[in-house]
């Protein structure tokens, strides 16, 4: 299933074009393209250039710190790491079942963060590409341009995100890096005043969620063939699903389907993930390449995230999202939808689901309960898995008899999509860049393909589209023959 653009023969004879840093994605990465004298692309790679070391430096720390400490991996969806670590520590403290209040408060927190993360990604980072076109003038192709040209859409994006952040604040204590989830449960429930505050705006959020889905459908269907084909790759898909096959991003079993939608494995207990998932390494990337073990590294790579989740689940438990899922699946004509840009469509269906799920939970008396924590006997191994906004997230810890972490393994969502993102940029390289003199709008297509996955390349503070960018063109002698520089003002200059 892998394309042939991973490694070129005789790379020293090819011109190297670098897109660094990638913009409007979370964290830092770069893309390198090798082009021959006839302008054919011979190699395309997405490189992750940061090293974090969390798995190492949490060794030696007490296990009860994990949910708060490890969430510092990310500034965009730290709740994912907070909750995955909390689930792992639930297992460590022998909490086989959370109290209804604890589980529902955690779900509320998770839906709030998925809502805010999806809103941020679509409206702030990607809507400029989709509303204005990939080749729109670069100084206009950003969230400021959206505010100027589509103020109502921009406002909805900002306020949807704000609402999600408020849900997080009230369940976790603060909007970023809270402390709500603790081993065996949570440290607070919601009082009447807090529930009233959230209920006040929830109907508006559900409506805007529906509007967002209608917006992406309108954009998608305006150029259906193009959007279905752009960066599209056939792949396996993996996600968490509920006990009845329903969409569930907090807890459930693992399901993997192949490119035709046939089941590879289903309802797998995630604590046994090592029997199903392996991680490969390549000498040109700091990020690992996970694959489904039974299919091997060549054919076993897969996609995670909204596209995989909506394709994989049997149904949504909320009516509006379920209605949209059915329409989405029709686009696949009996197969899973493989278009990479359909990630946006699936993501906004999930956003709608989150608004509905929050609405339901706000009516549930359990979220005001007082039974917050369950604990049993201490265990040596804890594994927590959930669906982060960007895909399946694995936290695995082992502790000694004193409760000190001595082993940790994290497979973060974006890592699962590593091979897929590389395949997508190779598809774009082959279909849209090959044989052409490279320009900024053409190179932006590479970034558009990567952005569709909403990668969190460092799980750190996020970068906006005004980041400086330098594109240097080297000849086969590694001599600089051209250089374009994008300043923080958005101005582009040829600096050679």
């Amino acid at each position: 299933m892998s394309s042939n653009l991973e490694t070129a023969a005789n790379p020293e004879k090819l011109e190297r074009i670098v897109i660094e840093p990638l913009t409007r994605v979370e964290g830092h990465g770069k893309v390198t393209l090798l082009q021959d004298e006839n302008l054919h692309i011979r190699q395309a790679r997405l490189h992750i250039v940061e090293f974090r070391g969390f798995e190492k430096f949490i060794q030696g720390r007490p296990y009860w710190e994990l949910p708060v400490l490890v969430q510092r991996l990310c500034g965009i969806c730290p709740v994912s790491h907070h909750l995955a670590a909390a689930k792992a520590t639930d297992m460590l403290v022998g909490a086989t079942q959370l109290t209804p209040t604890a589980e529902k408060i955690r779900r509320l927190m998770h839906y709030g963060q998925t809502l805010q993360s999806h809103a941020l990604h679509f409206f702030h980072l990607c809507s400029p590409d989709l509303l204005f076109g990939f080749d729109d003038e670069v100084r206009h192709r950003n969230i400021i341009g959206v505010i100027e040209d589509h103020p109502e859409i921009a406002k909805q994006g900002v306020l949807l995100r704000k609402y999600g952040q408020e849900v997080i604040r009230l369940t976790a204590g603060k909007r970023i890096h809270g402390t709500g989830a603790i081993p065996g449960g949570v440290n607070k429930s919601l009082n009447r005043e807090e529930i009233d505050y959230l209920q006040k705006d929830i109907e508006q959020m559900v409506q805007w969620g529906q509007d967002a889905v209608e917006l992406i459908k309108r954009i998608f269907f305006e150029q259906l063939d193009y959007h279905m084909a752009f960066a599209s790759i056939d792949s396996n898909m993996m996600s968490m699903i509920g006990a009845n096959g329903e969409f569930d991003i907090y807890h459930g079993g693992l399901r993997a389907k192949d490119a035709d939608g046939s089941t590879i494995f289903d309802h797998v207990d995630y604590t046994g993930y090592r029997d199903y998932i392996r991680e490969g390494v390549k000498n040109w990337s700091y990020m690992k390449f996970p694959f489904i073990e039974s299919l091997g590294a060549e054919h076993g790579w897969y996609r995670v995230g909204p596209l995989a989740r909506v394709n994989n689940c049997d149904y949504f438990s909320t009516p509006l999202a379920e209605q949209q899922r059915k329409l989405f699946m029709e686009a696949g004509h009996g197969r899973p939808v493989h278009a990479s840009l359909a990630f946006h469509w699936a993501r906004l269906i999930e956003l709608l689901y989150c608004t509905e799920a929050i609405r339901e939970l706000l009516l549930d008396p359990d979220i005001s309960g007082t039974e917050l924590v369950n604990k049993g006997a201490l265990q040596a191994c804890g594994i927590g898995v959930l669906e982060a906004p960007r895909g399946t997230l694995f936290h695995h810890y082992e502790i000694d008899d004193d409760g000190i972490v001595n082993k940790a393994n994290l497979i973060v969502s974006t890592t699962n999509n590593n091979q897929a993102m590389n395949e997508s940029i190779r598809q774009v390289s082959n279909n849209y860049l090959d044989g052409k003199q490279l320009t900024e709008p053409l190179l932006n297509q590479i970034e558009v393909a990567i952005r569709a996955y909403d990668p969190c390349l460092s799980c750190a503070t996020h970068a906006m589209g005004k980041m400086p960018l330098e594109i240097t063109l080297l000849n086969e002698k590694q001599e600089v023959v051209d250089r374009l520089e994008k300043r923080v003002t958005g101005e582009i200059q040829r600096t050679l």
């Binding site: 007490p62 009860w64 204590g173 402390t179 603790i182 440290n187 201490l378 409760g403």
Partner: protein, 246 residues
């Protein structure tokens, strides 16, 4: 009738009794002088120097300086506050005080005093010393990364628990807290979670195991009011005046 004796603290008359230090009298009068190694239950130590005040043109530690009639004590001059801030910044960089992940955050005296003195950053280069966590005891863990060598646990174990579980060893920058047990581990010592020494640490160095972050953000000791109003961490330990705060 005994004559009421007073000294002036930042221009305010403070009454004192025979044998009082400046700190004793100030605390009784509700006037806050920042401090870390001082706890009214123990003999003053004067080692952290955070309580330095200016008295008649010289600098002294308020916790050890006897009060005397007519003293002019300056607790809030720019120079004193700046010096305190420097001391706190040095404390932060010589240990590993990672507030964002620390379970004591929001209820830590070091953090609260740093906030009170307006410390915005550590300023100095971090030492990042290699220190460990001793979790060998079934109920209590010691994170040496966070120890500020205030010796409150040393004093409590020696003077109240009569166990001498803790002491300091080494000199100067190499000084560190050590455990009096055959292996040097807390689990091999006579320490018990009910000891006074388990309840006097002003930072997150000595903590109960298997717990943490149980107080939601907003309900922690210093979330609502500054330390000058709330008082010391140790005062809220079980059995003390503030036991049971929410």
């Amino acid at each position: 009738m005994n004559e009421v004796k007073t000294f002036r603290l930042d221009g305010v008359d403070i009454e004192f009794s025979e044998g009082d230090t400046i700190m004793d009298a100030a605390l009784r009068a509700g006037a806050y002088i920042p401090h870390l190694c001082h706890n009214p239950e123990f003999t003053p130590h004067g080692s952290c120097r955070v309580c330095i005040v200016e008295v008649n043109g010289g600098q002294v530690s308020a916790c050890t300086q006897p009060a005397a009639a007519g003293l002019e004590v300056d607790n809030a001059s720019d120079a004193i506050v700046e010096e305190r801030r420097n001391l706190l910044q040095m404390l932060f960089v010589e240990g590993n005080h990672m507030c964002p992940g620390c379970e004591k955050s929001g209820a830590c005296q070091l953090q609260a005093v740093a906030y009170y003195t307006g410390m915005l950053s550590p300023h100095y280069t971090h030492f990042f010393p290699q220190r460990s966590v001793d979790a060998s005891h079934p109920d209590t863990a010691i994170d040496f990364n966070r120890c500020i060598l205030c010796e409150l646990c040393v004093r409590a174990s020696r003077d109240v628990d009569h166990k001498n579980v803790f002491s300091l060893r080494g000199r100067g920058i190499d000084t560190q807290l050590t455990i009096n047990s055959p292996s040097g581990k807390l689990g091999d010592s006579t320490f018990a979670a009910t000891d006074k020494a388990a309840h006097v640490c002003p930072v997150g160095a000595i903590l109960p195991k298997h717990r943490g972050y149980e107080q939601p953000i907003g309900n922690r000791l210093y979330d609502r009011q500054p330390i000058s109003v709330v008082g010391d961490v140790a005062a809220y330990e079980p059995g003390n005046k503030g036991d049971g705060h929410d």
